[in-house]
């Protein structure tokens, strides 16, 4: 059976953002959502672009250009969509985190929340 891609923490954030934004996932909205999800650290727009490129090369997301939009000076938006390998990789990552969380002593879990 083929192994799903192993994701880094930032990749998990980006994929989660793309998944939750659904039809509205493009550079700015993904950047904003990633900022919300990782409230403890600042996220730059450049880091989002680079990670999206890498995820696209891995076949975890796909992208397409929209029609030009007047509010952006007639520029197109590059929208992103999670592909099934991306969804599988994100699911594996989430389950791994869940298993780690469950493995912690309940006293520690309560202290951390």
């Amino acid at each position: 059976m083929a192994q799903n891609a192993v994701l880094g923490q930032f990749e998990q954030l980006i994929l989660t953002a793309v998944l939750t934004l659904e039809e509205d996932a493009y550079g700015i909205t993904i950047h904003r959502k990633v900022g919300e999800l990782s409230s403890h650290r600042s996220v730059t727009l450049g880091a989002v672009y680079v990670t999206l490129d890498r995820l696209e090369d891995k076949g975890l997301v796909s992208s397409w250009l929209s029609d030009p939009t007047p509010e952006r000076g007639g520029r197109s938006k590059r929208f992103y969509r999670l592909e099934s390998p991306g969804e599988a990789a994100l699911r594996d990552s989430m389950l791994a985190v869940q298993r780690l969380w469950d493995a912690l002593p309940s006293k520690r879990r309560k202290a951390w929340i």
Binding site: A2, Y26, G27, I28, T44, L45, G46, A47, Y49, V50, D53, R54, D57, G59, L65, T69, E71, R72, G73, R75, S76, K77, R78
Partner: protein, 216 residues
């Protein structure tokens, strides 16, 4: 000239539209521009040298596409390598001879290249595009390896000659040239050039492995 136009010129063409739009939406913040530009270029460069994902397909049409794509890539890579070599030699020997050689070579290739290509271009026939592509990759890898070995031997011989203070074994024992004629610089710069060639060969080698290794 306004900021949008300057940024537009500085962005790689494949992402220009979407990134400019995003930057416009955020009001062209200088911090965004300074952060995005180097990262976008880094990503673009990484994608340019990465192995093409099309090879993952078993469809022979994908190999036909990759076969022609590789022809263009290798042409560009060789051109860049020779231009770099000519530039180094121009600097080292203070002569534009090498640059002229490359320019004449390029002109000749531009004039006769298409005729040569059409003469040697063989339709796959019974061979698949996959086999043709692998054959061409192996040919390029072997050629790069041979060139690199030759330059290594040349540098080795020149080093011995310089240490001995004689031009033999570069020349025949009865022919003695002045030491400056050995031009060790030439060999070193050529070695640098062919180190790039070897890097190219390594990339080809990876592609061959990617194609020929059975996928699980």
């Amino acid at each position: 000239m306004d900021l949008a136009k300057i940024v537009s010129v500085l962005l790689p063409s494949e992402v220009r539209e979407s990134v400019l739009g995003d930057l416009a939406e955020r009001g062209y913040r200088l911090s965004d521009i300074l952060n995005v530009l180097p990262r976008i270029w880094f990503s673009s460069f990484r994608r340019a040298i990465a192995l093409p994902s099309v090879i993952g397909l078993s469809d022979d049409a994908a190999f036909e596409l990759r076969y022609h794509q590789f022809s263009r890539e290798s042409g560009r890579a060789m051109l860049l390598i020779y231009l770099l070599w000519a530039s180094i030699m121009t600097y080292v020997d203070q002569t534009i001879l090498y640059l002229l050689i490359v320019l004449v070579g390029m002109a000749a290739w531009g004039f006769f290249g298409s005729r040569l290509r059409s003469f040697f271009n063989i339709h796959p026939g019974p061979r698949s595009w996959r086999e043709l592509h692998i054959g061409r990759l192996r040919g390029q890898r072997a050629r790069a390896g041979i060139w690199f070995s030759m330059v290594c031997i040349d540098l080795f011989l020149r080093t011995i000659a310089v240490r001995n203070g004689r031009t033999w074994p570069i020349t025949a024992p009865h022919v003695e040239l002045n030491l400056p004629h050995l031009s060790l610089n030439f060999s070193i710069s050529t070695l640098l050039l062919f180190a790039l060639n070897l890097l190219w060969a390594y990339r080809i080698h990876r592609e061959i492995r990617q194609i020929t290794t059975p996928r699980s």
